[in-house]
């Protein structure tokens, strides 16, 4: 199924002359993806979600849900939480869910089932204001699930939680993913995106600077570490090798990325041909964090220390 759940075209939000929060954003989320919207704080993630959820007006561009446009009634088929969970503090979990179900035109919501899913059954009748942050987040997820929506949107769902709470929420999101839901997850936590998402886009200053699948990103950026007796000649040799990019030098190892069309073996041969005996070579799959930093660096055109060494 390649049905498109969400498509944005040139989505733009300008808050003031100086502040361009989202800048010409094109996104496409097909059915079944767990899509991570990754970016540092202030990169425009929440503004983007605000626009596609109707609470922030668009300066320019357009978006479409389920290929049907942006009418407000479509939002009844989306479960979404922006920033903190927002509920009526004096109402209990159960009563809050009734309010949500009325908005979404659900006559007979399965409130008990939802409370069970998120583990709030015992406190279901206590006022929302007495809940811990973790419980509030879990209620938020329950309310997002109330209309049994095809797509769920979570914005920094683990923000401010303790490690146990974080683990619980992530497990909950994975459980929901396994119910064949499409999920859009905004986060500044790479680790979270890596663990939960299938695809992701990186935002920076409101611009999309990367998008692709998490798997590809993990494999595409093969970092290789090499060590040699004579580190100076190693660095010189590596720097002239067209197969090695983004070269960085530590105290006794040189780290670089393997360029397209090159393999680690080919680079090893290149070094041998240049009379640099290698005493240590290791290929390591990068974490998304390294990939992320790499993407940011490419985007900023900040030369890495070793690259400036080359010139």
């Amino acid at each position: 199924m390649s049905e498109i759940i969400l498509k944005t075209e040139q989505l733009t939000k300008r808050f003031s002359k100086r502040i361009l929060a989202v800048d010409g954003l094109d996104l496409e989320v097909p059915r079944g993806q767990v899509f991570g919207l990754l970016g540092p704080n202030g990169s425009g993630k929440t503004t983007t979600l605000g626009m596609i959820l109707g609470v922030i007006s668009l300066t320019n561009g357009s978006f479409s849900w389920f290929g049907e446009g942006d009418h407000y009634t479509i939002r009844k088929r989306i479960g979404a939480i922006l920033e903190q969970p927002n509920f009526y503090p004096f109402l209990s979990a159960r009563q809050n869910l009734v309010v949500h179900s009325r908005i979404k035109d659900i006559r007979k919501p399965d409130i008990d089932g939802l409370l069970k899913l998120v583990g709030l059954s015992e406190r279901a009748n206590d006022p929302f204001k007495t809940y811990s942050l973790g419980m509030k987040q879990r209620l938020a997820i329950a309310s997002a699930m109330i209309a049994n929506p095809d797509v769920l949107i979570f914005d920094e769902p683990t923000n401010g939680l303790d490690p146990l709470g974080i683990a619980e929420i992530r497990q909950l999101i994975l459980d929901i993913r396994d119910m064949n839901k499409t999920i859009i997850l905004a986060s500044h936590l790479l680790d979270e995106v890596q663990k939960v998402c299938s695809h992701f886009a990186v935002l920076r200053k409101g611009k999309k600077i990367y998008s692709g699948s998490v798997q590809e990103a993990l494999y595409s950026s093969n970092t290789v570490s090499v060590g040699a007796e004579n580190i100076i000649s190693l660095v010189q040799a590596i720097s002239t090798c067209p197969g090695a990019i983004a070269v960085e030098r530590d105290a006794d190892v040189v780290r670089f990325q393997v360029a397209d069309g090159w393999s680690v073996a080919a680079i090893n041969k290149y070094l041998v041909d240049h009379q640099v005996p290698v005493n240590f070579i290791e290929q390591k799959k990068s974490s998304l964090e390294e990939k992320f930093l790499e993407i940011l660096r490419e985007n900023d055109n900040i030369p890495s220390p070793a690259l400036s060494f080359r010139s």
Partner: protein, 274 residues
């Protein structure tokens, strides 16, 4: 359309039926209403006792003021009750500003409510309180009338009963004004203070200056228009002329303000990001 109306009314009911401060304030409103109805008579009798040398008033000494006699009672009670319309106005202000401070308005929109539906749900609250107020006045009037009025025939009861509806209208327009203030300012404390300041000080002083210093003859300011729907009835007991029927112009001006306040609220809501 009917479905939508029912939905937004139900929604407002589900939101606030368990909110204790609301129930307490509304209870206070009813309490003030009832207690004033019962106490004002003894207060005025005491006042007459003090004024026994006044030529005009002394003939009321034996009978008491005919405050709660049918025909008179509706305008008298209606005017008395207008003093209390501030209480439901606070309820309306709190109900809107709470949605902003708790960001539940944002969540409502995300969940699939339109901004128009959100506004209409608040107008539904205003409308329900206005109907409730008119009913309260009707019940209190009937009760006090049957207790004190020397005449009790149906024609007497029904004469001037339009003041009950006029009271409902007055509360409605006043609450629409409170609604607009809340949508505009969004913070409960500031809204209540500015609303009080404007309705009780700024506008009366401003219109006072306009009327008496510049001999301005127009009575179109909102608070003034609202208060004019039911004109002060009591001077008639001092044998002065008093308007004792509702003037259509007052009704239309007030309705116009209600429309303006609702439209401005919608404009505010539509224009701003949440």
């Amino acid at each position: 359309m009917m479905h939508q109306l029912r939905k937004i009314t139900e929604l407002e009911y589900y939101k606030f039926r368990h909110y204790r401060p609301f129930l307490i304030i509304l209870g206070l409103y009813i309490f003030c209403f009832v207690i004033s109805g019962f106490s004002i008579k003894s207060l005025l009798d005491w006042f007459l006792e003090k004024q026994k040398d006044d030529d005009v008033l002394k003939h009321f000494l034996e009978t008491g003021l005919p405050l709660f006699d049918f025909v008179d009672i509706w305008q008298n009670l209606g005017w008395l009750a207008t003093l209390f319309k501030y209480i439901p106005a606070f309820v309306v202000i709190i109900s809107v500003t709470l949605e902003y401070s708790q960001k539940t308005i944002k969540q409502n929109i995300i969940d699939g409510l339109s901004k128009k539906e959100f506004l209409l749900s608040k107008v539904a609250l205003v409308f329900a309180i206005s109907i409730g107020s008119a009913l309260l006045l009707l019940l209190l009037g009937l009760f006090l009338g049957f207790l004190y009025s020397p005449v009790k025939g149906l024609p007497y009861i029904l004469e001037n009963i339009e003041y009950v509806a006029a009271y409902g209208l007055e509360v409605f327009v006043f609450l629409c004004m409170a609604l607009f203030a809340a949508f505009w300012i969004q913070k409960s404390g500031v809204t209540i203070i500015l609303f009080l300041l404007y309705t009780a000080c700024i506008e009366p002083i401003m219109t006072g200056i306009l009327h008496y210093k510049f001999e301005w003859d127009v009575w179109y300011f909102p608070v003034e228009a609202i208060n004019l729907i039911i004109r002060v009835p009591f001077q008639k007991y001092a044998l002065l002329h008093v308007e004792d029927s509702i003037i259509w112009q007052d009704v239309f001006v007030s309705l116009g303000w209600a429309g303006i306040f609702i439209a401005l609220s919608y404009w505010m809501l539509k224009r701003r990001d949440l």
